[in-house]
Symmetry: C2
Subunit: 467 residues, 2 copies
């Protein structure tokens, strides 16, 4: 690829604080040069190569396991080979839960096997499994309102009606079933809980995901049925006869283990100009190979940073972070916030919603920085990306630090099919659309090319706004 | 539904042999009455109710198991309730193979678990599993040409490139990998064989299916990888390093067990007018609930027969057969042929290709009967069904008898997505499109309304033509 210095690209419309930055480049020329970087990114192969390599040569990489450690080593080697500087691992310790055997079946009235998987931090059944009658609830509110006498000793079945949404907003409402159901069921004395998978597909591939037993609730076995199995159970329950289920789950807590973030940099020309953090998470759930969650997130942000790096040393340092242990509690993001709290972060941005096309550009910056964001929006428009609002929320990895008042941007991906795959065995490379992946790289390249080279202060922003 | 006698519907264009049949109804009026039955079937709920009931209340029903026996009892009760006559079970014995534990993983160079399932009649690994290096072949021809020294003691990996086809023709070419691969691998001394699933989906749901070790080949462990897993193995092998795999399969042969066909009739007015046999197969593979393979086949043909029955006693007897043990070797079809060889079968037709819309009408009848088939084709055209040829092949259940020279018709279903689901855990009720299911019922109702009431001799046809 032809390279050219982009230090000059973004100097148009500089505020009075811009100091020594040249003012000669007109806005049209600046936009043209960002556009050239953007359009070159539409032929990117780096992001796909990272995604393919990590998912093939490491595969699943559950937080705190040997597989995640192999993924960190893989990441260090790849980031060095791509030309990044200061490539290193920052470790921390975290509690690790691992999956065991998992089986479920209806014993009566219609004997049949079920496809299910344990939720994170699920308790175990006795080694021979447990048998109990099912008591069903259509919502977490109905479970909360239940008489404990109706729940005690039974297997709670909790369902919901999640549908696909482009912005992923249905995950919040339905996800409560997974996040809070096990705690509420435990508090009412349930023997176990099975939920309808938090997902939108129709395959026998159940969706795992984290939950934490809260408020002193004892861990009970907690599993997700695949959606066809949940619908099958709905039909069986509708027959009105008592339904007995057998459940065998043998997961276990293995204690504190080492995890870590992989960090790499594109050093900026001016150390006082601060750091732009971009990244995604390196760990994955253990059922698939973590392709869309979140190999593509680290791949997109890394490929974009490399493109800006190759175009000339930027004003600001770009720091690429492959966060560890996101899925199980954002331990990597918390560790990063603790280790780097004292540094000047000018912007943080995370990609953790698959690799389908970016459709909206949200920001959270100081009012004085909105003209910079508008310039980015202008450059993103030809990619089919609409300007969103200035109320962006972050992602789970950047939130621990960004919530202290650091500006964020969000290149929002189309989530219509994301929850078909999220946390399932089906999260594999074949689900990544290389064309849409490149559109993501182009969007991130565009954003980074501007913010890493424009000296405008983007903050401060209100604390705690990111979630 | 309003009912009316259809004995008169098809008397137009009667040949001289028609005897006492009335000749007064003109062709336009006859077609109009068949059309009324056809259109009423587009609101059918019987086929969906059978499909929903069998897949919910029995679920999987592997041939020769207790589950298949429950399915037969379920069928007898349902067929009696629908008003059929002479409802009974015809039993036979057959060898039964059952699945055990199944696990696979890559040991090196990139450790990871694989999603796979044993093929029918697979041998077992040692109880602790077996480890061996993989030797890969792109085709059965390449495996046949291989030096046994390169295969001995290894795990053969055999792949293919099946794509969806509307007529299902790609199954024949790719299916050879499953049907013959294990035998060839065994003959060359392989420790085991894994194949790319014979399917067209991209889910972690492997496709099982029958194979028979032939020519004295000793049973070896034989499994199908899900398609994403096969593609993952392809990528790993492309790295050029030796690949070691661990395989654990514990299926077993359980000896001879009882299976059976469920038979029901709509008695005809004239016992000498012969029998029209329609049906599908009752058994299923054990991974899903056998919704499209083949609950819908028995549901469609039963619902159509009931509609013709409710419209008035037909000239000919319609016999509905829910064949047992099709998946594992067409034992039900063979038993039926043996038990009923001496009866006058005027036509046989089978539905065993899912429940997506019928798009083509093929026949195999004597030339003199083609005008009757053309009348059916005319009545099918408004359903979007094209007239095919007079070279129809049967299905595996009717072939044992039809190959002796009995006419057949084939209402061919759209198979574009059939091999996404075929023989996988994903063959569940949610895959059935109720609207397309009704189009199937309408097509079969149309065909049956004509052939059960028209006295034209449809045969004889060439022997052995059905396959």
């Amino acid at each position: 690829m032809k390279t050219f210095p982009i230090a000059l690209l973004c100097a148009a419309a500089l505020p009075a604080t811009a100091g020594a930055q040249p003012r000669s480049l007109d806005p049209v020329a600046a936009l043209r040069q960002v556009a050239a970087l953007r359009d070159a990114a539409l032929t990117d192969d780096v992001a796909y190569a990272i995604t393919e390599g990590l998912t093939t040569e490491v595969g699943q990489r559950l937080a705190g396991t040997d597989a995640e450690a192999r993924a960190r080593d893989w990441g260090v080697a790849r980031l060095k080979a791509l030309g990044f500087r200061n490539v290193h691992i920052e470790t921390y310790d975290m509690p690790v839960w691992v999956r065991g055997e998992e089986r479920g079946e209806i014993l009566s009235p219609f004997p049949q096997k079920l496809s299910l998987t344990a939720l994170g931090n699920s308790g175990a059944t006795p080694p021979a499994g447990l048998d109990a009658e099912i008591v069903a609830f259509p919502s977490i509110e109905a479970l909360r309102a239940a008489d404990p006498a109706a729940v005690r000793g039974r297997i709670v079945y909790l369902t919901h009606a999640m549908l696909p949404t482009q912005d992923g907003s249905s995950y919040g409402a339905s996800g409560i079933v997974r996040r809070q159901g096990p705690t509420v069921a435990s508090q009412k004395g349930a023997a176990a809980i099975v939920i309808r998978s938090i997902g939108t597909d129709h395959h026998r591939t159940p969706h795992t995901g984290v939950q934490m037993f809260a408020d002193g609730a004892a861990p009970i076995p907690a599993a997700a049925l695949s959606i066809p199995d949940a619908e099958q159970l709905d039909r069986i329950l509708k027959r009105g006869r008592p339904v007995r289920m057998r459940l065998l789950l043998t997961p276990r807590q293995t204690g504190m283990r080492q995890s870590g973030n992989v960090v790499a940099e594109v050093p900026g020309r001016d150390p006082k100009a601060g750091i732009v953090v971009v990244g995604g998470h390196l760990d994955s759930w253990d059922l698939g190979t973590g392709a869309i969650d979140d190999a593509t997130g680290i791949a997109i942000t890394t490929a974009a940073a490399k493109r800006v790096m190759d175009a000339g040393r930027p004003l600001r340092t770009i720091r690429v972070v492959w966060f560890g242990a996101e899925e199980v509690g954002a331990f990597g993001g918390i560790a990063y916030a603790k280790a780097h709290a004292g540094e000047k972060h000018v912007l943080m941005a995370e990609s953790d919603f698959g690799a389908d096309r970016v459709w909206k550009f949200d920001t959270k910056v100081a009012p004085g920085a909105l003209p910079v964001m508008d310039r980015i929006a202008t450059a993103l428009a030809p990619l089919g990306i609409a300007r969103g609002d200035n109320l962006a929320s972050g992602g789970s990895d950047i939130t621990p630090l960004a919530a202290t008042g650091i500006p964020i941007v969000s290149l929002r991906q189309d989530g219509t099919r994301y929850f078909d795959l999220h946390h399932t065995p089906d999260d594999t490379l074949d689900k990544v659309d290389p064309i849409q992946l490149r559109q993501n790289v182009a969007a991130w390249t565009t954003m980074l090319a501007v913010v890493a080279n424009d000296p405008t202060e983007l903050g401060p922003v209100e604390k705690g706004g990111a979630e």
